[in-house]
């Protein structure tokens, strides 16, 4: 009952939300979440594309879905790195405000 465009719009919307979050929020935790959101938004697109193309004659295998799984794995790893960095930063700065990290410049 959902057509491809609808799904794509959804993913696009989520991706933009992700971008907005990354750009606008100062809380590192939120930023991390937004980053995840971006990746997952793309996942939706991939899956839906995969779904469509699986029906078409050109290629039988479910590349999109496989890709999505891979991305999930990667995203998990990335998240773990991100959180550990978050800890380090909390230890040094006693704050998780993005704008505090501005000693290196010029």
């Amino acid at each position: 009952m959902f057509s491809l465009p609808t799904l794509l719009y959804l993913s696009a919307f989520l991706f933009s939300v992700g971008i907005y979050g990354v750009l606008a929020r100062r809380n590192i935790l939120v930023v991390l979440m937004s980053l995840e959101l971006m990746l997952n938004a793309v996942n939706i697109a991939l899956v839906s594309f995969g779904r469509v193309h699986a029906l078409t004659a050109f290629s039988g295998e479910h590349g999109g879905q496989i890709f999505t799984l891979m991305v999930l794995a990667v995203a998990a790893a990335e998240a773990s790195i991100g959180l550990s960095l978050l800890l380090v930063i909390w230890r040094r700065w006693r704050s998780i405000d993005l704008r505090q990290l501005c000693q290196l410049n010029g």
């Binding site: 469509v52 790893a77 990290l101």
Partner: protein
């Protein structure tokens, strides 16, 4: 159907495999005693690393100089000369970085196996990236190596600058991989569900503007990795914060592998004239901004960072030419330039590591009178700088010669002119360290910890290599040419 893995397929992943195993071995070897004696050089780690890298390198030779084995693992990757060249650069860099890391880290009291292991892991990922021929494998390889590098960048946890740099790298990196992935999705969608580059090239979705945007987004993802303007903002900060050895490693290996992959990607997808134009614009801005911003830097690492950005700019020129249809062979200058760049940069960072052993010295004036206290280091660094400036009798000159002559050959006079002007500007800041090393007297306060054999060895070898490649580049150039022809099949 039963599962078969052909000899070729084994051979193809041999280098990467060896590297991953090396990393594991290093971790295990250091198990148990990792916590204490972080101050010892732990030569055994270096030894393991070196053996690993040498083995991997040997594996490359086993793979030989044959053109290509065609698609392997259902088109996920291939094993061709081009890939091997890329792997070669990466492995070389890894080898020397491992050599240097021991004493450097020990002097900072944080020498544990993770670092060398991360180098090995990263190297493995990079080797794969150079061979990857499928969006999925490309993405995975990139992410893997990025994760390794994020950690290395923030390796000095007790240093604010390190953590800050690492985090910046991470956030921006994740941001960019978002776009990379989006681009891949677009391509996937536009080309009717094809993921392997071959299929993409074959498919008919090329004209679709969705496809063009997709390639553009992928390009942006890579542009971030190689530090092209306007996606370069992380470079200086990360370089400054990260351990000097790690910086050397990143500067060369990450850039090299990403560029090899990008080159392969663009040659396959064939891009479009529009993309070529955009890329040209990017390269012009990158060359100019990199060199100009480097002019007044006081921190050597930052200076090298901007110079790295500038060199990315030069390296984009052959891609522009390759994209614009005529002269895909222009890409041949990339492998050579990367080798030259590797030798030069490693020599430079070796010296930086040497002077910052034991303390955080990376100001230009910290080099004052180095030619008296450490003539060899001074000489090596000077050679490196001269090569970076593209002055004859060095590898850097031949690299520039290749790129610029290609540009002129195919009528990109403007690009060539900008390149010339940029390198003219660069002469100024490349000479500043030379001035302090040779023309100034050492400061009395300045006491150098004698450089470890690993660093000295690296500087010496890379310095000599820089000169040698400047004098007898013929064979490498031919190899590069053949490798690019190998991609095109």
């Amino acid at each position: 159907m039963e599962l078969t893995i052909s000899r070729a397929e084994i051979l193809a992943i041999l280098p990467a495999g060896i590297l991953f195993i090396t990393g594991l071995v290093q971790l295990f070897a250091d198990l148990g005693r990792s916590a204490e004696n972080k101050r010892s050089e732990k030569t055994h780690l270096a030894m393991i690393g070196v053996t690993g890298f040498l083995l991997a390198f040997a594996a490359l030779f086993v793979q030989g100089t044959g053109a290509s084995t065609g698609p392997l693992y259902a088109g996920a990757m291939t094993d061709d000369l081009f890939g091997r060249m890329g792997a070669g650069v990466v492995i070389m860099t890894g080898l020397f970085s491992t050599l240097m890391s021991g004493s450097y880290l020990a002097s900072r009291g944080s020498n544990s196996a993770e670092f060398t292991a991360l180098i090995s892991f990263g190297a493995g990922a990079m080797a794969l990236l150079c061979q990857a021929t499928n969006l999925v494998s490309i993405f995975i390889a990139i992410e893997t190596l990025s994760l390794a590098v994020y950690v290395m960048a923030g390796y000095f946890q007790n240093q604010r600058s390190a953590s800050e740099g690492a985090f910046k790298y991470f956030v921006l990196g994740a941001f960019s991989s978002g776009f990379l992935l989006l681009g891949m999705a677009f391509i996937y969608g536009a080309t009717g569900g094809s993921l392997s580059l071959a299929d993409i090239a074959a498919s008919d979705g090329q004209q679709d503007s969705l496809f063009s945007v997709g390639t553009l987004l992928v390009l942006i993802g890579f542009a971030f990795k190689v530090g092209a303007v306007p996606f370069h903002t992380w470079v200086p900060d990360v370089y400054q914060g990260a351990p000097t050895v790690a910086v050397g490693w990143m500067a060369v290996a990450v850039k090299a592998s990403s560029l090899f992959c990008l080159c392969r990607f663009l040659l396959f997808t064939g891009g479009s004239h529009h993309l070529a134009q955009l890329l040209a614009a990017i390269s012009v801005v990158t060359m100019l901004l990199g060199n100009l911003a480097a002019l007044n830097q006081q921190s050597l690492k930052r200076m090298m960072a901007y110079s790295g950005i500038a060199h990315t700019g030069y390296l984009l020129i052959p891609l522009v030419i390759a994209l614009s249809g005529e002269g895909a062979s222009a890409g041949a200058s990339i492998p050579f330039y990367m080798f030259a760049y590797a030798a030069t940069t490693l020599a430079a960072f070796g010296v930086l590591a040497a002077i910052s052993v034991g303390s955080d010295r990376d100001q230009i004036h910290d080099l004052d009178g180095l030619s008296r206290s450490r003539p060899l280091l001074a000489l090596g660094f000077s050679v490196a700088l001269i090569s970076l400036a593209g002055i004859p009798l060095t590898a850097g000159f031949i690299g520039k010669l290749l790129i610029l002559s290609n540009a002129v050959q195919h009528g990109y006079l403007l690009l060539a002119l900008v390149g010339i002007i940029a390198s003219l500007i660069s002469v100024y800041f490349y000479l500043r360290p030379v001035v302090s090393m040779w023309f100034r007297e050492p400061k009395s306060s300045f006491e150098l910890v004698p450089a470890s054999w690993g660093i000295t060895f690296t500087v010496a070898v890379c310095g000599i290599a820089t000169i040698a490649l400047g004098l007898f580049p013929g064979w490498l150039i031919d190899l590069s040419k053949r490798s690019v022809e190998a991609i095109l099949g």
